[in-house]
């Protein structure tokens, strides 16, 4: 899960980054709208947090821009307490949620989670990428519409790859996501090889292309163009 934070206050930006990173998201940030637009042009984000009351420029334009370009990113507006007009305008433009400052980080996190859940489950009940179809509600996976029987770890691994598609993920970040906080205490992450192998095998059996590119010494890249 990749998140873009657009926020000018350095303190707040930093603590948001830190907290959300720790929660397992991949975080990038921009301190103003022009930098944000640059990033949006280049990368895909799953969720964008926009502070809508920055001094230099209009955050609504970002939302407009995203919607015009049919971005799939979820948008959460962060607004100062007093200014509710822009907030409403933003929601009208298609933002998904808003959060008034000051907020606590756990609250932010649960909003993000809720948003991601909504996007994954309600909006489009299916995640479809070429021949792969994922039905998150059932934790089920199909290739060429043939069911593939994945174990929990294999499913988690696939979902992690897909939510980081076209991005290089390290073995460490895989371990963090699939085994949680204590994974750094573990010396060897060899079992990733095993689960990856089993995943590749099961997908290949149903005629799926091997999208998982091994990047020697670095990690893996689930390379796909939808």
């Amino acid at each position: 899960m990749k998140i873009l934070i657009i926020e000018d206050e350095p303190e707040l930006r930093k603590s948001m980054k830190q907290y959300l990173h720790q929660e397992g998201y991949v975080i990038e940030s921009a301190s103003d709208y022009s930098k944000a637009l640059e990033k949006i042009e280049v990368y895909d984000y799953d969720c964008i947090l926009v502070d809508i009351n920055l001094p230099q420029g209009n955050g609504l334009d970002i939302i407009k821009h995203l919607k015009q370009n049919h971005s799939k990113a979820g948008i959460i507006i962060i607004s100062a307490k007093n200014s509710s007009d822009d907030k409403i305008l933003g929601l009208d433009l298609g933002a998904d949620d808003y959060l008034a400052k000051p907020f606590n980080l756990a609250e932010l996190n649960s909003r993000i989670k809720a948003l991601i859940r909504r996007r994954n489950f309600d909006g489009n009940k299916l995640i479809e990428i070429n021949e792969i179809t994922i039905i998150p509600e059932e934790r089920a996976v199909k290739v060429h519409n043939i069911p593939v029987n994945l174990t929990a770890k294999e499913y988690d691994l696939l979902l992690f790859f897909i939510s980081n598609k076209n991005r290089v993920v390290s073995k460490n970040s895989i371990a963090e996501h699939l085994w949680g906080d204590d994974s750094d205490q573990i010396d060897s992450h060899d079992f990733i090889y095993v689960h990856l192998r089993n995943l590749r095998k099961k997908l290949a059996e149903k005629g799926c292309v091997d999208y998982v590119q091994t990047i020697y010494g670095i990690g893996y890249n689930f390379k796909i163009s939808v």
Copy 2:
């Protein structure tokens, strides 16, 4: 893990309770010191959060009281921004940490976690309860000084019982702790029976008393007087 919150502001108290409960702690609260003292007399807490600047009474006395009675509870002082004197006095009296208002709940949570970790790992490297010895660093358990070979789930289960000793824990709360947030989506928690049985068996093999009392229809109680 049982936590006592001593805080007079109803709003803050409520949100602390709610958040920490959601994080899996058992929470009790008191709105003033006399009520707090009553609770302290009756129950054992793992951690006590004391707002040290309440209007009626002196929070330092609570800390003194706890220390004089050799309470094992960790103490975190919550203090208003301005008053640092009492904070320092409190730390001198043996409080473990402090947190200035306003704080965010995630921060509070991480302080509590850190405190519990310190208590469990650094201070006394061993947890000793009658014939059971736990070496958390190694996730190792001994009974009558004989090593017991527990699996991860069995160890977690034992630790959960011990950190809630003399307290009734429901099957649901066990599931929440051992399997995390998604456990409520699971219909049956039958595997707890299995893990509990294996744990009991392994402990009994080494001559350990069965401290785990089954409370029909409710849960279990790890009953022990140290």
